[in-house]
Structures are given as structure tokens and as C-alpha cells.
């Protein structure tokens, strides 16, 4: 498989705190990569660095062999990197269809007018929100807002999709639906990086994982190997368990 995203030696500091320290890893085209680590280990910062929300202090991020580190987020989005947010972000006063159209109207090959409405409804159906096009996003449940956010991200026709704890807070049935939805995205050729704490989902979806702790990458490899790695176990459970 070819390399889609190459993160090399990326460092990000906030004042005295180093949130990400010389992180390097690759994402191959077509894979679903898990980005794991305890709370505060720098996963969300890493997502923000890739999506352009933050500018790295050092290091490079190459997407399809083009350097994107430090580029402004709207350009990265137009290049084909879409994301969801850890705390769900939808435009509350717009309805579901308009929220998805936001993803369609400003991408590289924009859709507008009735073409955009049709495509938005198709994407709503795909994430399980068929028939909800007119519902104001603010009136939706948390779970439905997450689905809506995903539909908006898919509207960008991403080649790389960043999911930040998208499965968190789902019940067992919803989780199964979510997992199969993400799997179907992978089958469509979308590359996914998912930050996730739900281990069952990681095991069933991710071929490979990258594990962070205290801002540094401590393991990278196949999901099975990584989970058995003593460094990973001790990062999660504390040193006495290693």
C-alpha cells in the first residue's frame, strides 16, 4: 500500500507544556488506523495538527507527498482531509440538510443548489438520518449530531478522514451500527485515522495502531502486537502492571 500521510518529527508546545514531542508515523492509503493513548497523551493535538487547526513548532506533515504542516485549515480541508470533533460541532440553527451542504459547498469540486440538496440527503441516509433533512441540528440528540457531523465530513469527499472519539457515548446497538458504518467507509477507499477508547471497536476495525503517551509515540504496528506491547500496557495501567 502507498503512503497517504507521513508525519515526521512533529513537535507542538503550549507554553511550557510539550503536547506532542517529535512524533513520526505513516498512514497508508486505504487503511483504518487507530490512534490510541491515555487522556492527555496528545492524540487530539495530533488531529488538530493534521487538520491544520494548530501549527506545529517543528517537523513536517506530508499528505499525498505534499507538505501541509502549518497550512490553513480550509486549504487542508479542500485537499481532502475531513474531520469530526471530540466535542461534537454542528451549526445548531441550521437544519440537517444545510449542515451537510456545508461540507459540499466549499470543497474542491463544490456542489450547490439542488445537486447539493440531493447529495446531502443521500449522505444523511448513509449515516442513518434518512428523512431528518429538515430537523434543526440543535434539536437532535447527541448521537444524531455525531452522525450529522460525519455526514458533513463525508460531504468533503475526503481521502483522509479524522474521527476524534466518534464512537464515544454510543450504546451497544448504536456502537455496532457505527462500527459497520466506519468499516463501509474503509471499503469505499476512504483512509481513516480514529482516536478511540472503545477497544472492541479498535480490534474489529483497525489493522494497525499508533499509541501515544505524554506527547510521544511509544508504539506503532499491527493492532494485536501493539496491544501486547509492555510499554503500551504500562502507559494505560501504570508501571506496576508492566
Amino acid at each position: 500500500m502507498s503512503t497517504l500521510l507521513q508525519v515526521s518529527g512533529v513537535t507542538k508546545r503550549f507554553g511550557g507544556l510539550t503536547a506532542v514531542r517529535e512524533a513520526s508515523f505513516v498512514v497508508k492509503a486505504g487503511e483504518i488506523l487507530g490512534l490510541l493513548g491515555p487522556n492527555g497523551s496528545g492524540k487530539t493535538t495530533m488531529m488538530n495538527l493534521i487538520s491544520g487547526n494548530l501549527r506545529p513548532d517543528a517537523g513536517g506533515i506530508a499528505f499525498e507527498n505534499t507538505e501541509i504542516a502549518g497550512r490553513r485549515p480550509h486549504l487542508i480541508a479542500r485537499d481532502g482531509v475531513a474531520r469530526t470533533f471530540q466535542l461534537v460541532r454542528v451549526v445548531g440553527e441550521m437544519n440537517a440538510r444545510e449542515n451537510v451542504m456545508a461540507g459540499l459547498a466549499f470543497r474542491k469540486s463544490p456542489l450547490w443548489g439542488s445537486a447539493a440538496e440531493d447529495e446531502a440527503d443521500r449522505l444523511l441516509e448513509r449515516v442513518g438520518l434518512a428523512g431528518r433533512a429538515q430537523t434543526p441540528a440543535a434539536d437532535m440528540t447527541y448521537i444524531d449530531q455525531k452522525r450529522l457531523e460525519l455526514a458533513r465530513a463525508l460531504g468533503l469527499k475526503p481521502r483522509l478522514l479524522l474521527l476524534d472519539e466518534w464512537l464515544a457515548g454510543l450504546n451497544q446497538t448504536e456502537l455496532e451500527g457505527g462500527v459497520s458504518l466506519i468499516r463501509s467507509l474503509g471499503e469505499d477507499g476512504v483512509t481513516v485515522i480514529m482516536v478511540e477508547h472503545v477497544m472492541a471497536a479498535i480490534r474489529s476495525l483497525c489493522g494497525r495502531c499508533v499509541v501515544m503517551n505524554a506527547g510521544a509515540i511509544i508504539a506503532e504496528g499491527s493492532t494485536g502486537d501493539v496491544m501486547a506491547d509492555p510499554a503500551v500496557v504500562s502507559a494505560y495501567l501504570g508501571d506496576e502492571h508492566a
Binding site: 485549515p73 480541508a77 451549526v91 441550521m94 456545508a102
Partner: protein, 315 residues
């Protein structure tokens, strides 16, 4: 049918054409009122065009208005009228471009503060220039433009503003601004160049404010920085827009008409209490009508449709 562009634009055209006959039916006082309403309609609508969707509160309306007026004061007798208007438009847009590019990347609060002081800054600079370089504080504007013509020019400008506002509302730019107003982070991550969009609209909004000032300048025969850059004009435009409602293009005009009449009445009867009452009215609007008249109307409609569900939900 009712929402088709042809219908809306046609209805608007008929309305403005009808308004063009107003000068033939009113006396001098009525015409002065009509000019006041027309000019504040443009200022408040142009203000809401930018501040409504982006939620950036600009307190600099009169800075642009004054730039337009001063351009006329300086060049009115030198260049033909259309060229004067063109120069005024360029001046206002350049100023808006500089202000927009330097402040719209920042958080909203800094933008408010900067625009709050911008008027004062320009007033000081113009005063300094006039005193030091031209050695006159005021200027006389002797232009052969009568009140009717001023009214018609304002009406034409208002018609263009509503047409432009309507088209923007249906365009991707208008959609982008609604997303920015809703959640700027989302806007950036769906591919919107937020700075670009905000600056574009800010400049457009400033263009209309500047032209209003230019058109209004011949009404005063004497003009000085204190008259041209009177901060109350900004305040009143904001109050009117907020009263009417900034979420809809036709919202501000609902505030302009009652407010212009009220201010006229207050100025005539209680000149000493004018500012105090202005403040009280402003507070009442902020507290009791946070969505403006237009918003309240929509909430009421939604409320009656939902048959008893709370108004809160309708927002």
C-alpha cells in the same frame, strides 16, 4: 411561487418604484423624514448584512459614512458627481479592507473595540490635517443637488443594497457567512476561507455606508469632523438594526421606521433627554427583544405552528 427569485425581485422593484413618487405627495418636512428613513435604512441594513451573519459587532458605521461625506466636501466642486461617488466608494472600500484584514482574523471582542475607536481616530486625523495643512476646521459644500434628488439617490442605493443582499443570501458566500456565524471552527474545516469571506462582506457593507455619507453630504452646507463623524449615527444604526432583527434582510427596516420617528419626536420635544432615552430604548431592546422584531415575529409564527410548544425551542 412566493419565494421564487423572479417574484421577490419583481415585487421589490414595484415597491421601490412606488416609493420613488413619495416626494410628489409630501411637504418639505415629510421629505426630510423620508430622507432620514432612507439613509438609516441603508446604514442599518448594510450593518446587519455584515454583523448579522458573522456576529461581529461593528461600531464604525459613521467612520465610513464620514469618509463618504468628506470625500464630497473635498472633491464635490472639483470633479463631476459620478466621479466623486466613485472616489468616495474607493476610499471607503480601501479603509474597510485595511481595517478588515487587520482585525477580522482576531476574536470578535478586539474587532468591537477597534471599531469603537476607529471613528474617533479618523476624526482626530481629519481634524489634525485640516488644522495643520489646510488651516480650516470646516468646509462649505455648495452643490446644486436638491432634496428630491438626494432622496432618489438614496432610494436607488437602497434598492441596489436589497438586491445585493438578497442575492448574497442565496449565494455560497451568504451560506458561508451563516456557517461562520454558527461555528467558525466548523467553517474552516469544511473548506471556507473565513477571513476572505468576512473581509469581502465587511468591505461590501462599508461601501454602502460610504455612499450614503456621500449622498447625504450636500444636505449640510457646512461640514466639519464633528458633524461628519458623529458617533451617534453608528449607535443609532446599531439600535435600529437590533430592534428590527439582524437575521433577515428585511429585519432592520422594521426598526428604522419607528426609531427614526421616535428620534425625530425626541429631538424636537426633549432635546436634553435625548441621549438618556436613547440608552433606555437600547437597553429595552437588548433585554426584551434579543432577536429583534423580525425574530419575534418568526418565533411567534413557529410558536403558533407548533401549537403550544415553547418559543425557546423555535429559536
Amino acid at each position: 411561487m412566493k419565494n421564487s427569485p423572479a417574484f421577490v425581485i419583481g415585487a421589490g422593484a414595484i415597491l421601490f418604484a412606488a416609493l420613488a413618487f413619495v416626494p410628489f405627495y409630501v411637504d418639505g418636512y415629510g421629505l426630510a423624514l423620508a430622507i432620514g428613513i432612507a439613509s438609516y435604512t441603508i446604514l442599518a441594513t448594510a450593518w446587519a448584512l455584515f454583523s448579522g451573519p458573522t456576529r461581529y459587532i461593528s461600531l464604525a458605521t459613521v467612520a465610513f459614512f464620514g469618509v463618504g461625506a468628506y470625500t464630497v466636501a473635498v472633491l464635490g466642486e472639483v470633479l463631476p458627481w459620478p466621479l466623486v461617488m466613485l472616489v468616495a466608494a474607493i476610499n471607503g472600500m480601501l479603509l474597510a479592507l485595511v481595517v478588515g484584514l487587520s482585525t477580522l482574523r482576531l476574536a470578535g471582542i478586539y474587532f468591537v473595540i477597534f471599531t469603537f475607536g476607529l471613528t474617533e481616530l479618523i476624526k482626530q486625523l481629519v481634524t489634525w490635517y485640516e488644522v495643520k495643512i489646510t488651516r480650516t476646521v470646516g468646509r462649505y459644500v455648495f452643490l446644486d443637488i436638491d432634496q428630491q434628488t438626494i432622496y432618489w439617490q438614496l432610494l436607488a442605493l437602497a434598492a441596489i443594497l436589497f438586491l445585493v443582499g438578497y442575492l448574497i443570501g442565496r449565494s455560497r458566500l451568504g451560506f458561508a457567512l451563516r456557517i461562520i456565524g454558527g461555528d467558525e471552527t466548523v467553517a474552516r474545516h469544511v473548506g471556507i476561507d473565513t477571513t476572505h469571506a468576512k473581509v469581502a462582506l465587511f468591505v461590501l457593507s462599508a461601501l454602502f455606508m460610504t455612499l450614503t455619507g456621500a449622498i447625504m453630504a450636500p444636505r449640510w452646507t457646512y461640514i466639519d469632523p464633528a458633524i461628519a463623524f458623529n458617533p451617534q449615527v453608528s449607535f443609532q444604526a446599531v439600535i435600529m438594526a437590533l430592534l428590527g432583527g439582524v437575521q433577515r434582510l428585511w429585519g432592520p427596516v422594521l426598526g428604522v421606521i419607528p426609531m427614526t420617528l421616535l428620534f425625530e419626536y425626541l429631538n424636537a420635544n426633549f432635546p436634553n433627554y435625548f441621549i438618556l432615552i436613547l440608552g433606555i430604548v437600547f437597553m429595552l431592546i437588548v433585554y426584551l427583544l434579543p432577536q429583534g422584531v423580525a425574530g419575534a415575529v418568526s418565533s411567534l409564527r413557529a410558536w403558533s405552528r407548533r401549537d403550544g410548544k415553547s418559543v425557546e425551542e423555535a429559536r
